[in-house]
Amino acid sequence: MLEFNPIIVGGGGRSRCRACHGSAEPVTYRAPGDIATRIAEVVSASTAVPGPNILLTGADPFGHPELPALVEAAVSAGVERIAIDTDGAALRAGDNAAGSLHAGVRHYIVRVTAADEALSVRVTGGPSGPAALAGIAAVRAAAQRLQTPIAIEARVEACRHTIAALPSTVAALAEAGADAVRITVGDVPRSAETSALLAAACDTGMVNAVWVDVVGDTALLPATHALHMTEEDADALP
């Protein structure tokens, strides 16, 4: 219903499950001029209604030294919805949460591997989960203070190393202030237990009024939870 055009600001640096994906690639960022040009191209070619909307993605945009200028370029180009695909940790720092809102960002996509600190350290090599939760809480608080409508979506990749914690990850994201959680089903055991955990994650979202949708191998979700299945991952992250 809402189309976001991805704008690649760089590559690498994402903390994911090391057992499944290996260590993170080194981070690189594209030149701000190139990105601004790309934004202008996308906006002028966009026929999206509602829109135009863009998603700054690839490497974490908060690491880009010229992020304010990039957001400003998007605002000047007439972008209606600016989304940032972030690991969330940077939202805790300094004035990033309120600053990004002031600049014009309204959508936050926060990648989370696991909320629990010990699990997070074990699978990603650092406390990325708690940092992401703190980032979500910071931007939620800033939006409330500024009375600015925002949308926060957490993206969680479920793999055999994190699936058991999925319901508690959803609960923690809800508590931090996420509006929705998208679970991508990765390399998980094809078992009744996996189905039960996916269903429990969806139900945990429901009782916290947080929407959970599931992409990937949706056949693992029980049929009772068919509404949570998203067949086409139209806005899959790179």
Binding site: M1, L2, E80, R81, R106, H107, A151, A180, L227
Partner: protein
Amino acid sequence: MPSPEPTRVVLCALNSPGYQSLALGYLRAYAQADSRLAGRVAFQTLDLTVDLDPWWVAYRVLELEPDVLGLSVVCWNARAVFEVARIVKAARPQTTIVLGGPEVGPVAEKVLAAQPAADVVVRGEGEATFTELLYATTRGRDVTRVEGVTARGRGGTVVSAPDRALIADLDSIPSPYLTGVMTPTDNGAYIETYRGCPHRCGYCFEGKGYGRIRSFSEGRIAAEIDAVAQAPGMTAFSFIDPVFNLTGERLQMLARLLAPHAARGIRLHTVEVDIERIDDAAAALLARAGVASVETGPQSVGEAALAECRRGFDAERFRAGVAALKRRGIIVECDLIVGLPGDAVRDFFDGLAFVMSLDPGIVQTSTLHVLPGTDLYDRADELGLVFDPEPPHEIISTPTIGYADLRRAEVRATWLQKRYRARLSPGEER
């Protein structure tokens, strides 16, 4: 001989924050104008908000030591109102508690059976019935004989007097604004120019309950508009008419009356329109009237639900109407209901996708409430609608959507609305 103490009448409404009850304003203005009650009845109005603790509301009521307490009841405040009634009755049993409004009128006998604290229910249009009820009370007459009243008779049996005919000449109801019964507040005042609705939507009480259209005169409408629009500090108000663009002539008349105020910057918010009848000329009239935002359907785009609810929907005309309004800078709020009979979850989300594709400005979804007095309430068994018998009568399941999927649809729709709302508006300050 000293004149007897007047009967103390307290009228109380639990409103949405920022609003006053026009219904109570009408009741009071009508009763106060009746010479038979002059000097015999003293009124106080408590316009409170639904978020208040019912014990505190009861405190405010009891401080006034009412002989008669009139409470306005709609589906979304009914639970709180019933609690207020219980507390007041327990603390002051001699107070006669009168309920009125669409939540209680159509099911008056059931309400009195379920709410022992209530003594009387005023059914249907309240002004004349409430006045006659007060007259009977002040004369010590049997209120169960007052047309339009359901009350406890001797021995506590619930008795319903015959229905009362609708007021033929709406101008006979004095204006609460022109009489000073209500003081218009900025962004909270609204005007009614007619009653009834030409449509008969299955989930709505307006068309079924108030039948044919009766209008206030143009002179009365003009005087109310002037009074409200010129009230100190007024910047915006609204109309509660079911369809603001009821006819082309009426829209022209309203635009003419409102234009001088619009030229001073007075705006109208969320007036209800039949969007499929809006072309460029109608949009221009709405803009001239100062309309900043309108509210409209489609409520559903599912053929089966539209048929069950007796609603029309023409996607192209709807789209054209939204486009015409957007060209005039008027924000459109598109409303959808989840849980209508005949709709599957997919129909609801098709509706959401449709309205979002129009980028109307505001998208609002709600869950079906099966309200007393509506066609869906009467046909609930036939349609297989399971709903909460307690107000606000939310749908529990339908033959095409089960309980859990209704809740899922609500949560997903809320998320999609948040995504839509999170945007930069043109010229937004950052």
